[in-house]
Symmetry: C2
């Protein structure tokens, strides 16, 4: 079986893809060209023009500035599939021409080193991002080739990889290095899918397996570096923010890694590559290692929004169940990375856990990184914003408002490429089975035994649990259809061709299986979507005595604009939740209303600190809105976790 | 009226004074002489010996290392009054001889600059601590003179002050500087009490009023400094930890200061001097400014333990009601400073608020800084210690255990001098009135109209509210006796000579006044000490849904050793509190027992994060111990604020 065409036609995601097309891509193009007022200049395109001798000037930007260009190209590639646009495609082609001009004769391509420190290439893999940027160009090239079949960027990239392959490896005379920031591993595996060139597979494997070996390459490399080298951000006195080798996950070889540690984005990019390699080589042992890391993350180190990285220091994982809501990191990129990882895990073993988490990510902690208009972004995604936050240095990284751009602009383009490539998460296909992972509306054509199956999936997700799947095959065919049962749903109804299905069996991997002869069939599913009061594991000390509201895949939050100041003083009461929709200022999203109480804190004298006073409560109409939509109607307090008396 | 003798004879404080005498003073002497294994070396005495040419070597230690020597002398001075000890006094005399030898001919006395940067004296008042150290030597000299009547240290100090007075002031040719770390102001006012030398008063006034004026002295000073100067801790790029002038309270002149800002210890030392100056000059306007700052601190920026400084960044105050329990600073020194300030405030205006807070400090947030044995210390006094704390960089300053010593060793000697001089807080005396502020057992002699009144106060504080005060005067005398009614007490009984008193009236300053003719009288008071469930102002978001237990002046906490792991999962139930005493491992302190529930968190699968599960609770015997006594029976979790369902 093979998907030969897939087109998203979905209420929710088509809107997002349109925003990326209409707002984000042009906006990011301006950003890359420094045309946005009041935003940090990017200089990313200019760096390439200077390297290509088309302009003069000096390099400006972070050491990984090139990657923003790559991510933009990748996003545009996916978007061109959804929305063909000759002008835009031409813009990309012209940009690729500049990149080609910029590339060194030997294949080298990193404008930071080319313009700023040409003698110091490959001397600081730990802190600088040459291999990381190369990875992003691979991804861009693969995406652009897949959509346009144009090879120029792919050729540029392959030339660069040839150079990298000559320089790095276990063979005599090669450097035994690997990237400080993982990314090229997952990218090389994607490249291998196109090129089928074993060199690309093997280089990915080399980078993965060399990591964490002794003697430690980064120490050797450091010893060789000129002492006067200016480290851009890594402080030798406080190496990797005190996190040492764990920061970049090179503390032990990957097969010995058992817990998620260090910088969250680096980690999940690496785990993604590990999962993909396990798939490509059908390596059960590698999969099991990766699954252990998966379970550690999703069961012990993940916020209900899908956010990961509970420590701002090193933007990193911290201990199991250490999940503060107001001082965490929860980088948008890390949640985007989780979707990549989840996608690959399910390709090795079908288990609804993977797409349950993927669903949690795509509807919550990823898209929270962008406003509804697509022109303001968050790097850090808090679960609590209170009025004191910005004045505390230990929480000043938690911005109370989305920003027009960032000096380190990894998150906005990362989110854009996730949105434009959302289609890759919908199906997994096996020899005689179709897995429907995400209920996102689409029209698809699947090839099966020289025949085609047309699928039309209509969905009202995430606001309503009704899904209709029409299959249309010219020839009656026998295969299994698997439907993921979302983890938030304990009540659903399935009919096949209008009748309750006998063929549907609840698989123990969390999918519903329908095994029948298919020709023209219609499946209807109704996943009930009650409002859930979710609790977190009571090992998470911050959330004891609190619940979060969730409906379907959407996690909700309270905002000051709806519920007044001092959200921490609100208690939920009972379980009478009313679901509403149709608020135009929130794109007609579903909001939740209920009755609660709020401590009459304004009635309490400002000038006492501590007393035995019994607080008076005031009844309050509590209104919750989708978490991802917070801060779209002005700034103010926000909370996800809401007080509820114990055992009520 | 005048106190002519006062001797502490108190169950609680005599034990502490003995600990300081027997354990802390010898221990700190060893520390100052680098004789404590596994502790940060101090080198403080050695620095003086080198400066005195008695030894050779180089300066070592912080820029304020000298002050530890001064605080030790001050502590010993007070202790000698309580426990005369010729050997110890001789040790101090020998040390003073060394200091005399170390002093420069012109009077200068700061071993850091003398040994390390002799050409750079007085060039960095903002960051280095010359005037601060001078202040501590003044306090030591005053204390040592008061107890021993020996003048040598006083002479040394006066000579130094003469030099400082020549250098600083508004007069032509003088530097218009003032200290970066306040301390000398309050010290000069103490010196003035002995010397009655207006120069000392005026220099204190100059330092206070010059602060915060324009043009800003620290900016002028900085512009003059050699750019290559190494700043010891203050980073020009992130001046005063980003707190700018507010850090050292020189953002505006003192009369324009309205809110407590910046480094908490600096602030309260300055406020103490302001209050004392208001007293000395009967300056109502200055008092009102100081009172505004007082109210800001105690009503909006103070923890229930008396801790202040809710931000580790800059060890500083933060916003009103921003009082996190796990990432605060609450430096021992800051709470000690609060007692100095409260003491002075009450000398201007009698208001029980001042000694209510002083009581909160002396029984909670100060003595929590030392273990019961007197040989381990805390700098930072958390209200919550959880198992993850040390692994979070944003909370790593919160040590889970007291330490043998610190490189910056301000807190242990500061606490020791507070304990040994606790007597100064007991009484305030006016022309015809005696104010009993603290119910600490003592025998005192008060002079009144050429006669003496013997007072014998017996108290079972803080464990029991019974107080017996015997007055014995040879001659019948008419004066007012004021008894502070503690803020935790809403029920008390007073008898005078066995009968309920008619003379006792409840004054509106929070004192009970008895106006009668006294000769031989016995007053008995019973302050009832029920266990209180205290709530904090609901503007403090962290404490909503929680109570703290308090009995008498003692704030309680839960420790893991008594209540098991995951203290955050405990809920208090009802209000049936049993008071127990007699546990030998806690010095027979009163502990509190009650019934609560604990979420059966161990019964919850480790491998799920979020669910709708209703937790099971297990009944639990909850045991609370005095907050100050935490971490005396091993390490583990600790909390002050405990869950209680709303409106139960």
């Amino acid at each position: 079986m093979k998907i030969i065409d897939l087109s998203i036609q979905d209420n929710f995601w088509s809107r997002y893809q349109e925003i990326v097309k209409k707002a984000v891509i042009p906006y990011q193009w301006k950003a890359l060209n420094d045309e946005i007022k009041d935003a940090e200049p990017s200089h990313a395109i200019k760096n390439f023009k200077i390297a290509a001798n088309l302009e003069t000037g000096e390099y400006y930007g972070e050491v990984f500035q090139d990657s923003d260009v790559a991510k933009w190209i990748e996003t545009v590639a996916y978007s061109l599939k959804n929305f063909p646009d000759d002008n835009l495609e031409q813009k990309v082609d012209e940009l690729i021409d500049i990149i080609e001009l910029a590339q060194d004769e030997d294949g080298y391509l990193n404008t930071y080193y080319m313009l700023k420190e040409p003698d110091k290439k490959w001397t600081n893999l730990r802190d600088h991002h040459e291999l990381y940027c190369a990875g992003h160009f691979i991804e861009a090239a693969v995406a652009y080739y897949n959509v346009t079949k144009k090879r120029k960027l792919l050729n540029i990239v392959c030339k660069y990889i040839d150079l990298i392959d000559e320089l790095f490896g276990l063979e005599e005379g090669k450097r035994r290095g690997y990237p400080g920031h993982q990314e090229i591993e997952l990218a090389l595996l994607r490249l291998y899918e196109i090129t089928k060139d074993e060199k690309h597979l093997n280089l990915a494997k080399y980078f993965l397996y060399q990591r964490g070996t002794e003697p430690n390459y980064f120490e050797i490399e450091k010893a060789k570096r000129d002492e006067t080298d200016v480290l851009i951000w890594n402080d030798e006195d406080n190496l990797n923010f005190g996190l040492e080798k764990e920061y970049q996950q090179d503390h032990v070889p990957i097969m010995k890694q058992k817990e998620a540690v260090g910088h969250a984005v680096r980690a999940v990019y690496m785990y993604t590559a590990m999962a993909d390699l396990a798939v490509k080589e059908n390596n059960q042992e590698l999969y099991e290692v990766t699954k252990k890391l998966w379970n550690d993350v999703v069961n012990k180190k993940m916020y209900i929004t899908g956010g990961i990285g509970s420590s701002a220091n090193g933007e990193s994982f911290s201990d199991a169940y250490d999940l503060p809501n107001d001082s965490m990191y929860c980088e948008t990129c890390a949640s985007v990375g989780m979707t990549f990882w989840a996608n690959k895990m399910n390709k090795f073993e079908k288990n609804s856990d993977y797409h349950n988490i993927l669903e949690r990510e795509i509807y919550n902690g990823t898209i929270s990184g962008m406003n509804l208009a697509g022109n303001k972004f968050l790097y850090v995604n808090p679960l609590e914003v209170n009025s004191k936050q910005q004045n505390r240095v230990d929480q000043e990284h938690v911005l109370p408002e989305r920003q027009p751009w960032f000096k380190t602009a990894c998150c906005p383009p990362n989110l854009a490429r996730m949105i434009t490539s959302i289609e890759k998460n919908l199906y997994d296909i096996e020899d005689d089975a179709i897995y429907i992972n995400q209920y996102i509306g689409n029209q698809s054509i699947i090839e099966y035994q020289s025949n085609v199956i047309n699928i039309n999936l209509e969905s009202k997700f995430p606001w309503n649990g009704e899904v209709k799947i029409s299959l249309d095959s010219n020839k009656q065919q026998d295969f299994k259809l698997f439907l993921r049962i979302p983890d938030w749903c304990c009540d659903f109804k399935v009919t096949v061709n209008g009748r309750e299905s006998n063929e549907a069996t609840h698989d123990d991997n969390g999918y519903l299986m329908i095994d029948k002869k298919w020709s023209k069939d219609e499946i209807k599913i109704e996943f009930s979507m009650p409002v859930l009061e979710v609790k977190s594991n009571p090992r998470v000390r911050n959330n004891i005595g609190k619940v979060a509201l969730q409906r379907g895949p959407i996690v909700y939050c309270l905002e000051e604009i709806d519920n007044g100041e001092n959200l921490a003083a609100i208690y939920l009461e009972g379980d009478n939740y009313k679901v509403k929709s149709g608020e135009s200022d929130l794109n007609n999203m579903v909001t939740i209303e209920t009755i609660g109480e709020k401590i009459d804190w304004k009635g309490v004298d400002k000038n006492y600190s501590y007393s035995e006073e019994i607080y008076k409560n005031q009844k309050l109409k509590v209104k919750a809105v989708p978490y991802f939509s917070w801060n779209n109607r002005g700034s103010g307090e926000m909370i996800v976790w809401i007080n509820k008396n114990n055992n009520e």
